[in-house]
Symmetry: C2
Subunit: 334 residues, 2 copies
């Protein structure tokens, strides 16, 4: 199995990428890696090139680039070359820490979607209070508009993913809605509820409200991309602001408080750890012909390592092909 | 000015309501109050009935009641009688801590909406890091479906409210969207952006994403009720879970940590205070002929007091009539 890595994306590229990939290479001997990017910069950090090759390019997509335009005009950008190698069958998966919008565009326009999936969806993992497996939520913004049938497709793919990668036997699939009763929501969500309830092969448990996303009541939460984006960002924004205010309260309230802070600090690290989902890897762009994964721009080598584990799990379990077969069967039965 | 108070709504009714109303009565001598509810229970807490009268009823709407049905079938419920008194002009505003859905229904079906407003919106105040005035956000769930014109009406009413009650000269009005650029979002939000940009008399500052709701970048955030509901609940849910995990980390990690917790505890109270919006009062149902305000079911006497202040500010400034005149002028100019 060969993974195409955009070595130039993210805040600390290529260092954390090279370090994480080397750790992953040492862990899984079925994997090979092709790093796309500036050869000189990559080699500076690469200690051992066993099962790691480099395809040199000095073009790259910046975080500030307009996604679709960047993909079309920067033909030799590391992300674009990596995506093309996957489309051409040279590599089996695409991994980047770079511009999310550009990776979405590269995934959709270069790697290409599964025929039976109308719209690919972006699916990160969020932490939950009662399990280290976290909760997957999709779509969180690959699409601004949605139809009930999209949400159904996302539920099926999310369910297969949770079985293959999170090893959950019967993943609990929930619909993000503005109330728990079956008849809640706008037309889109009412219709999606009925469709999900009647979808074979998934364990649909009903509606969940966004105050319960982190409560661990579901394994996969399905939502339209607009609402999912709002809920995800509200969750992240609130956590960031609260933790920052907490830090401020502990460190800027005099020496006495600071002493107390030093005492409680180890326990607070446990709190921080609960909100650390690096072991879950990156956000998956589901609905494409090959695994395409985006890790956070600020990700460290450990997250890169776990994202490779995530990709390996998807490849070993043939996750995408399973979804493909499900949809083919579904369309034959129609 | 006379305020109709549903004395039976909320977790600690009628005690906190009577206490808060007595404090408010002592503070503002222009106000009279009519308490609707169980006379005996109310009298148990009422120390001084100056400018406070009671209309007895032993029927009440429960938190578990189905809202619209409850309003229609429980004709003598304290909330329904209070709403009718406002409709009939006996009282000038309606205040309840009870069932939110039922109060929405009572507001819309009994008090009635301003003719020019298509859909009333529910508007709470959320805390922000840089101002005690917080941020108002509407609609957070009175409507599951929205049109761009609704968002425009909500923006106008939110802006007038922020001027009258929060005393902000040129309130910053933002649109909740999935990106900051003008062309972000689905059709609804793209169209709403253009409409808001061209709305006279409001200070529209563009899009805001939900990770910035608590950051104090706007005074009023306008959103469709479905997304607003998701963003509000995600914010509340994350804050609740984080603070609960924080408490757990401090208190359940041995005696040493507990000692440290005792030391930092006063500073953490400051943190908790930042997230306390009780001085902002309750959530306003904007778009009705009279002020209708919902305070949290768990509200204490202090919140009841500040909600009366909020109602008084709306009444003194003729906030609703200003909105009415704006819309009449707008429709004449069309």
């Amino acid at each position: 199995m060969k993974i195409a890595v955009d070595a130039m994306g993210g805040d600390n590229a290529p260092q954390v990428i090279v370090e994480g990939i080397e750790q992953a290479r040492d862990e899984w001997d079925n994997l090979e890696f092709v790093l796309y990017g500036d050869q000189e910069k990559i080699k500076k950090y690469l200690k051992n090139d066993t099962r790691i090759s480099i395809v040199h390019t000095d073009e790259e997509i910046l975080g500030t680039d307009e996604p679709v335009r960047a993909i079309r005009s920067k033909k030799n950008a590391s992300m674009v070359l990596a995506a093309k190698s996957v489309k051409d069958g040279e590599n089996d998966a695409l991994f980047s820490l770079g511009n999310t919008g550009a990776l979405l565009a590269a995934g959709i326009f270069i790697v290409g979607r599964i025929k039976q999936v109308d719209r690919p969806a972006l699916m990160p993992t969020l932490p939950v209070t009662n399990s280290s497996l976290g909760v997957n939520i999709l779509d969180v913004g690959a699409n601004a508009e949605a139809k009930p049938s999209y949400l159904q497709q996302w539920a099926v793919m999310g369910s297969i993913y949770a079985r293959d990668v999170k090893k959950i036997d019967k993943p609990r699939i929930a619909l993000l809605n503005n109330g728990t009763e079956y008849d809640k929501g706008d037309t889109l969500h009412k219709d999606a509820y009925q469709l999900l309830k009647n979808t074979e092969g998934i364990n649909f448990i009903g509606n969940v409200e966004s105050n319960n996303i982190l409560a661990g009541v579901a394994d996969v939460i399905v939502t339209d991309g607009f609402t999912g984006n709002a809920a995800l960002k509200a969750t992240e924004g609130t956590a960031t602001i609260l933790l920052s205010e907490l830090k401020d309260a502990l460190l800027n309230n005099g020496i006495f408080t600071k002493m107390g802070a030093a005492i409680v600090s180890p326990s607070l690290k446990g709190l921080k750890k609960m909100f650390d989902t690096s072991q879950a890897g990156g956000a998956v762009l589901l609905g494409l012909k090959s695994p395409v994964i985006k890790a956070h721009g600020a990700a460290d080598a450990k997250t890169v390592f776990y994202t490779v584990k995530q990709i390996n799990d998807m490849l070993q379990n043939d996750t995408i092909n399973k979804a493909n077969k499900y949809f083919e069967k579904m369309s034959t039965e129609k």
